[in-house]
């Protein structure tokens, strides 16, 4: 009964994170190029406060960037990077940013706390810097309009990202199905630990591939102020803030998982672990597939 409850709890919590990575700008794109997500499981007014905070931080950041550029005064820089970090933390609390997939990864792999931390950092920096690099590439290499072109770039990266996520989810599902139904589970520990660390990069890549719209906006603003280096510094600190939120979620799940598994015997723990892996693999496959179809369509 306890085991069923644990699996159910983990699955429900995992489902709460099911959210799209980004929707596209209604000002610069037609509605058919935007995808729509399913409704949230839980609604919260706290979210409205986050919106207001984001607005305030963003306005403050743009004022300070303008101040640094026009006066040459570097004193506000410290405050500016602190703001960028806070913005990243708050921004990543919102939907998307791969938290659901990241949670599924740690639920189905034997990742350590350090591994979880690395996972969060890698994902956030890929997500942030794909935005920054995308802006610089479009402006300086392709010399094309960023706002409009980035919409189609985002669609392509969404297709690749959701495709990768679907395949990775399918691999978790198949691996855990095989371990659960066809093979004795005891012999696999060492192998799985190694595999989980080796496989961290494609997961982070799948999540982080889509450019972060927040970093794109900050980068564009800095470019408009002729402050590319400052834009890259801001992108780094926003990414660091996002890494903190994503890592926090990943570590909370890891601790929860470890605590849950220690309550039961080793044999049952492994069965539960594979059961949870199977369910989260299935959830990742289904959601990844749905978003993939929406992005292609």
């Amino acid at each position: 009964m306890k085991k069923c409850l644990t699996i159910l709890l983990l699955f429900v919590v995992a489902c709460l994170w099911a959210a799209p990575v980004s929707a596209q700008n209604p000002f610069t794109s037609k509605s058919e190029t935007r995808h729509k997500a399913p409704p949230p499981v839980i609604k919260s007014q706290f979210f409205i406060k986050i919106i207001v905070w984001q607005h305030q931080i963003r306005q403050k950041m743009s004022d300070l960037i303008r101040d640094v550029q026009t006066t040459g005064n570097i004193m506000p820089l410290l405050f500016l990077v602190a703001l960028a970090f806070s913005y990243g933390v708050i921004h990543a609390i919102g939907p998307g940013h791969g938290k659901f997939v990241a949670m599924s990864y740690v639920l189905s792999h034997r990742a350590s706390i350090v591994g979880g931390l690395l996972f969060g950092i890698l994902t956030a920096f890929l997500h942030g810097f794909s935005g920054a690099v995308g802006v610089l590439g479009l402006r300086y290499i392709l010399q094309r309009g960023v706002g409009e072109t980035l919409g189609s770039v985002t669609t392509v990266t969404q297709i690749i990202s959701f495709g990768m996520i679907t395949l990775l989810g399918l691999s978790i599902f198949l691996k855990n199905s095989y371990a659960l139904f066809s093979k004795p589970v005891f012999s696999q520990h060492a192998q799985e630990t190694k595999a989980s660390r080796k496989g961290l990069v494609p997961w982070a890549l799948a999540i982080g591939l889509i450019p972060c719209p927040a970093v794109v906006m900050v980068m564009l603003f800095c470019l408009s102020m002729d402050a590319m280096t400052l834009g890259l510094v801001m992108a780094a600190f926003i990414s660091l803030g996002m890494a903190m939120t994503i890592s926090g979620v990943v570590i909370a799940v890891l601790v929860g998982k470890a605590g849950a598994l220690q309550i039961v015997s080793r044999k049952h723990a492994e069965m539960i672990e594979h059961g949870v892996g199977l369910v989260s693999g299935m959830a990742v496959t289904v959601f990844g597939g749905l978003f993939f179809i929406a992005a292609v369509g």
């Binding site: 509605s31 609604k43 743009s62 609390i93 470019l223 408009s224 799940v253 605590g259």
Partner: protein, 202 residues
Amino acid sequence: MVHRKILILSMLVVILLSRVVPAESHPHIFIVQRLSMAFDEKGLAGIRVHWKFDDMFAGMIAEDHDRNQNGHLEPDEVKSIRENAFSYLAEFNYFVFIKIENTSFKVKYTTDFTATLQDGRLEYRFFVPCHVRATQSIKKITVATYDPSYYSAIFFAKNKPVSLTASDACEVKTAIREDPETTIYYGMVHPWTLFLEFCLKP
């Protein structure tokens, strides 16, 4: 016992974080708006909308449409903005949702669109034609401005959010408050709405 506490604590943290997860994308564009209710000799003629965008979005639009990068928008650049960064809003009623006596009014087109860029600050101005004849009895109109996808968040300006023009022939009352009957973003947000009442002066 300790493990159970750790388990409960970590689950609570995750569930707490999960509570702030809505479904679609959070706003990436922030708009502060002012509305001007334009009257003529027959009654209400329409609504002049004035949007001031956050600096980040302004930077994005300037990057793409201020082609000579002189920090100002020339007529051809304004035309480019209208075609590529405004006209798509037609699918969303131009974010202006009007109800006349509780009946929805479809905004099919707008006029007098103009965009300005001054010191890196971007503003849009446009007119939404909406004719409502003034009579001796009170006409009730609501104007809610919001992005249904919530990619953009629209706030009323704190200072003079609403003004009236050429309304001398009418008695007009305005109020701004959240409309509990309208919800967006899966029921989480009640958009700020202008409640307008007017009738002919006796």
